[in-house]
Amino acid sequence: MSVDGPNPGPLDRATRRRLARLAADRIDTAGLEQRLRRAIAAERAPVAIRFPFRVWTAWGSLAAAVAVAFVVLILATSRQPDSSLFAAPDELAQLHEDLVQGRIPTVSVASLDEARLAIERAWRDAPELPALPPDQRVTCCCLRQVKGRHVACVHFIYEGTPITVFVAHAKDAPASDLPDEDRLFISRCVANVNMVVAQHRDRWLCFVGELPEIELIQLAQTTLTQPASTTDAPKG
């Protein structure tokens, strides 16, 4: 009996070729991917909570305040209505991916100031853009509607990694039972990206990118603690 060696017979070769074509059938994995993302987010959640506590310990009272708010916000956001921006992580991750791939129209800009001007021209009462770290390179920006809310998107490269920060008015991501102070929490990992959501003064910010969670938190933290004036942005 011949077995499947380097030179299988013609019948076996034909059968192999036919079977190989089964792999070309694309299977719809969208539903499974969603389920998996939720399960993975739940799997990762305890780690995500531990990280900020450890890092912010050295930051003294600010860290404690943020950490408490972080826990409170997780609980609060679990009750957010579906219309809230908090309910749109998949959409935000997709927008980030679209920006990375250049699949949606944007305004090319070379700096945060240019992005600010472009956004303010299109959205008169746009929320203030965050003060990004100095070693970033802003590439483009745009305005989008997410869950029926205006969101400003600024795309930049930080340490070689594409990051998008989405900024909206805090009232569009309601967290009404929270004290009026800085809050930060990790939302989840969606698709290939991590996502950190912050609420700062009257702004809602969401940082999305492939940075490790902790680095994305640090980046978000920087924007919360850095005075807005450091961006020398002209105000309209």
Partner: protein, 200 residues
């Protein structure tokens, strides 16, 4: 300092494991009774892989590693449900006596496959999948890994925990059995006609 992407297990999971989702689901659908069961199996596989990323040391190719996890979970599920896989024992040797009559004379129609490429082309993918699902579990696993997913024999042997020689003989025997079932289907559909002499 935080992990860089290449050393971060989460990042490696996204980069190496996530792209294998299609493969895992396709194999699972061929092995499980329904799509729901298949998705559960894949989800369990992916979560186990996520927890075990620190153990992953197979270069850039996560597919054999994932399929090993998936197969082990499949076996666990079969055992947990006290539901034997519908055909043969896991340590089955095809050199031993066969308890499946269709296996005993596998390839009995081979002489009648005058134009194998053309005849195989006439079967749609649902026909091929249905025929695959009628094969014994270990044979099915082998064909899925070697012929559908194009693992090499050594990788398939690793996934199934058997020697390479067993993979080769199973693959050959499995194709014969598959052709037998397809030929019977072709007879029913009138695509071919039995030989007047020596036909089964």
């Amino acid at each position: 300092m935080a992990n860089r992407p290449d050393h971060d297990p989460n990042h490696r999971f996204e980069r190496l494991v996530w792209p294998c989702l299609q493969t895992l689901l396709r194999v699972a659908r061929h092995m499980c009774r329904n799509d729901h069961e298949a998705e559960d199996l894949v989800q369990e596989t992916m979560l186990k892989a996520l927890r075990s990323m620190h153990q992953f040391d197979h270069g850039e190719d996560a597919k054999p590693w994932l399929l090993t996890i998936q197969r082990n979970l499949f076996i666990d599920r079969c055992r947990a449900a006290e539901r034997r896989p519908p055909t043969v024992p896991l340590n089955e040797s095809l050199d031993g006596p066969a308890d499946d009559p269709s296996r005993a004379d596998a390839g009995r129609f081979d002489a009648q496959w005058a134009h194998p490429e053309q005849l195989l082309e006439r079967f749609g993918n649902p026909d091929m999948v249905a025929a695959l699902k009628l094969l014994p579990v270990e044979i099915r696993w082998t064909l899925l890994l070697v012929d559908v997913e194009q693992l090499d024999h050594a990788q398939a042997a690793q996934v199934l925990g058997v020697p390479v020689g067993t993979i080769k003989s199973r693959a050959h025997r499995g194709r014969q059995m598959l052709r037998d079932r397809l030929f019977q289907l072709a007879l029913q559909r009138g695509w071919v006609h039995p030989l007047s002499e020596g036909s089964p």
